[in-house]
Subunit: 363 residues, 4 copies
Amino acid sequence: MAGSTLGNLFRVTTFGESHGVALGCIVDGCPAGLSLCEEDIQKYLDRRKPGQSKASTARNESDTVHILSGVFEGKTTGTPIALEIRNADQHSKDYGSIATSFRPGHADFGFYEKYGFRDYRGGGRSSGRETVARVAAGAIAAKLLGELGVKFTAYTKELGGVEITNFDEAEILNNPAYMPDKVAAALAMEKVEKARDEKDSLGGICECIITGVKPGIGEPVFDKLDANLAKAMLSIGAVKGFEIGDGFEVANLKGSENNDAFCVENGKVSKKTNHSGGTLGGMSDGSDIIFRVAFKPTPSIAKQQDAVNENGEEIKMEIVGRHDPVVVPRAVVVVETMAALVLADAYLMNMTSQLEGFKKFYE
Amino acid sequence: MAGSTLGNLFRVTTFGESHGVALGCIVDGCPAGLSLCEEDIQKYLDRRKPGQSKASTARNESDTVHILSGVFEGKTTGTPIALEIRNADQHSKDYGSIATSFRPGHADFGFYEKYGFRDYRGGGRSSGRETVARVAAGAIAAKLLGELGVKFTAYTKELGGVEITNFDEAEILNNPAYMPDKVAAALAMEKVEKARDEKDSLGGICECIITGVKPGIGEPVFDKLDANLAKAMLSIGAVKGFEIGDGFEVANLKGSENNDAFCVENGKVSKKTNHSGGTLGGMSDGSDIIFRVAFKPTPSIAKQQDAVNENGEEIKMEIVGRHDPVVVPRAVVVVETMAALVLADAYLMNMTSQLEGFKKFYE
Amino acid sequence: MAGSTLGNLFRVTTFGESHGVALGCIVDGCPAGLSLCEEDIQKYLDRRKPGQSKASTARNESDTVHILSGVFEGKTTGTPIALEIRNADQHSKDYGSIATSFRPGHADFGFYEKYGFRDYRGGGRSSGRETVARVAAGAIAAKLLGELGVKFTAYTKELGGVEITNFDEAEILNNPAYMPDKVAAALAMEKVEKARDEKDSLGGICECIITGVKPGIGEPVFDKLDANLAKAMLSIGAVKGFEIGDGFEVANLKGSENNDAFCVENGKVSKKTNHSGGTLGGMSDGSDIIFRVAFKPTPSIAKQQDAVNENGEEIKMEIVGRHDPVVVPRAVVVVETMAALVLADAYLMNMTSQLEGFKKFYE
Amino acid sequence: MAGSTLGNLFRVTTFGESHGVALGCIVDGCPAGLSLCEEDIQKYLDRRKPGQSKASTARNESDTVHILSGVFEGKTTGTPIALEIRNADQHSKDYGSIATSFRPGHADFGFYEKYGFRDYRGGGRSSGRETVARVAAGAIAAKLLGELGVKFTAYTKELGGVEITNFDEAEILNNPAYMPDKVAAALAMEKVEKARDEKDSLGGICECIITGVKPGIGEPVFDKLDANLAKAMLSIGAVKGFEIGDGFEVANLKGSENNDAFCVENGKVSKKTNHSGGTLGGMSDGSDIIFRVAFKPTPSIAKQQDAVNENGEEIKMEIVGRHDPVVVPRAVVVVETMAALVLADAYLMNMTSQLEGFKKFYE
């Protein structure tokens, strides 16, 4: 329960630090019989790889995933799937004052207070690099749910103040901003470039749409589907906000505006609108699930900042090194895969809801 | 794992439906030796009681809590504390078409799809009434953390579009809107009154401030303090959004604006600003924890709505009965106590972080 | 995680002390649609009621169970089922030196060391009376599995040195020893009577047979079916040993003697013998599950014993009051229902093992 | 929850199959600041290595452990410790009929029924080889508790019918039977040799003594210390029984014989005898913890056996290959380290029992 495990039935436990030997995870609870190879996972990892555009760091990491267990003859066996991503370069180097100082906007201070010391190399466990293990695990979850036609699409909705005004799904993987809007993406990347020149960084908003979700997924009280999505999203390093459907807008809506009227479409219960964002009472309502996540600007900036060191002395700090001036584009696939982890768990959980299904399964 | 349990070490499991025999919970993991009586809990429950103002329903429920176990000679014994709130009135009545229809904005449809049938009386398990058990449990968590000087203050920040412009803590419990601003509260209550007259309802935003939190509370990866707060908040029925610190505003800030510079104050590491809202990397940073929660307008409205029944027929629906035209004021104490549950769990969890503390405890 | 919860999917959390207001539990995760009424549970509780024979205490407790939630129109709703058994008599009385002394063979000392003080009335939380909540929960588990034809039969195999030599299932509920052997039962009860006269107590062995279990139930590594049964059994107060199949006898067997040869019977894979006791590699193998549990003699005896009080002074102690001179007969139903809890959880868990079942469920 | 995770606070999740790429685990929740290097773990792994005597297989596996994360500058950081043991030889070979048949005494049939297919190479996940990950994790737990003076000593008590009659701790690691009795060890090894010649195998009993345990460790109800030990032991492949203290002997004892009288020794509460085996009411009582575990004879024997294949045909089977004719000696270190895992978790859990300790920790 020290917090490196997510999920009840589709369950991932991660390990690894930015500059350690390797990062990875164990996925326990994936049903047996799912076709799975390293390429299924690698294609997700490649989407968060750095060094691909001006929005991301110039570090050259190959991020190659290896499946260590749980797959036999191309299929999952039902036993734990261990995934490993070796760190290409873990040579010690001089971390200078970072090793003994608390960077503004970073976890350094909390780590030091909690554990008494910390792995200061590249942020250690609190590095954004920790998310490779999540993406790898989530790729499996996404593949599992793909078997049922559930599809996850995340993208950058807003970056440095530039919001999309168009939605062209095919465009998302086509630009370094991962925006479904070519024009907005170009504008946003200009802003990113400018921020980098100013030794500064930018924030943004990521949106995720999940289609094909059957109604009734999620549990009614503490394990509401949206509650678990919120947790999953806020567990990503730089996230400061989560909203589903109309989100914070609901504060200014009336019930008659916010309620989605039910109707019948093609013989099935449906909704005329989707203010709810696809969940009601913590369970999916059959509409698309739509949520947004706010990412703060990268805290590592080259501008001089006021900081404090472990001796309790005030210092000036300029963070050198290759850091993304914006987190969002690379985080898009993290949002997508974390959502897949939450849904996979909820889908498995839901199988035990009714006596009828229980009896049918065992007859 | 069917979702009625929250927390790892300070752990609450709730039960009960709106019109069942009783609601309540078991709190397992509260340290032994805490002074506790029913009045400690009752005062929190009284804050969510209906029938106290024009913003709340006219139902007359006494919501009296009974401690069934875990307390001996006025102190917690370390064993499970069972709390029970009997439902005053559970006489069957005619629920009319509600029994067999899916109300817009409600969990009815999801429940039906998930379980095959549902307790339709007053929303059953998905009623807002379910939160009495949370408030009762959270009152104990708040008392436990009060021993360390941790304090929780929640209030209505915005209601029906009226936002507070003033913060007078003493005023919060003084008005039916639970706003720390007398003038805003009066305006907001007018809006509420108007919405009720229009057979409609309003949404709002609740804010919560937690003071006195030691740095390092929370776990670095999935069990980040803010992630668990987000889950706890989204697990409250009508919540559609959560943000901490600058929240969604971070999307438009630069790193140099959003980062909180560290400084030394009274010999302790401190921050010059609190854009982070009190957490960095998922652990408390020693500043006040500040978060906001968006509540949708009450879905039960008297206006006619389009709905569908269990036979898959489209129907017209007017929800009669006594429903709060706004959820927020009564939910303020739910937000506060849910936050206390999350913090209590994180505080206990944190005790096992260091070998030094481990050895000291057992020497 | 303070230890009052058992199970992952079929999950029970108990509360209550011997002389508190009430004992009970919350069962979360029972599938919706199971017919359930108080009588279904009461008949199990009646089997552990005291005062029914010379082997049990003379206390007059009615142990009437009340369902507080989770059942609507005679069926489980899928939401938490809260069960409550009120304590008839909780009037304070003079506990004399027991209140401040550590009884030999009892949890008193551990409780005091762990929590700093304890509810000394009748053993508090560590009283055998705590098992009423388990029996109540397990009755639901047994009913659920009964829908699949799984049947649990526990009985006293040995009592005070008298072992059964005959197995007549119909006889089990017919004698106060709960033995499937009328003659052995009579002999055993004589021994019990004699032990009582000598102000002493006796131990025994309980055996449980589970029939109708499908192969493949249980999880391969830590959550082996037999491992979870062992935990469940050792979690019963006076239990000191658990063995399955040939149990400790295996130490003296050869592989060729202990292995069960496979064969085909009625077109199904079967075993020629059942040395394994129904599990192989932690999963059911389709044979009857057979295990035994050793119960120590009741620690509360009227004979004078050496003890120590909270001041660290050596004292002499004679435990007066009405205590069973033997635990086993009343514990038989506890063994049976605890086994049902473990199996119900394993059965639900097993539903998520294969992609094929997953897809079939959702198609 | 698919069963590859053990523990609540000191938490191990394992992965790997007999002939996969690697086996290993993630240990989450180990306090920060513990000195740890690969040699600390390797010395435990070496004790279960095969090929060291006539009692074990001739396979040549180096079983070298690598720490992938969670340790920095020679100390644990509080973050997950990932351990990996690469399989030296995973070349495919012809598994003949084993690939499609169910071996008597093995998990094959259950695996096939549960998952629809299985990794048949060397038993896959249900191979005894899976325990390397447990031993590696438990080595860390043992080191952590060593800091408090808690010591674990396991040994073979009985092997092939030969029981120890002497206890010389120094002798344990000196003979291939891991017996604390040189003479018994020699006799036992003769029996083993004979069994091997007869193409058969032998069972045995392992005993474990834990010294230095503070009273009050363990949780009162389901998570009793002995219950969790029982689960941990029965989760080891070939184990069929567990008993603590007098174990199954209690069935024939009277209360006056089985109760341990309390006394005062060196100013501390102590017990005159230790029939309880160190636990009372599920919590440690300050005496040595003593338990025994029964291991069945190795199911893989060269003698011809009746079996069934996946097509449901009866076949004859002779298992060729290098298999230990007895499991116990190599399992001794598994018992010891599994016990350490249970105790470490219970020790961490116990830190949160009292308000006093809670306040002291945070003051």
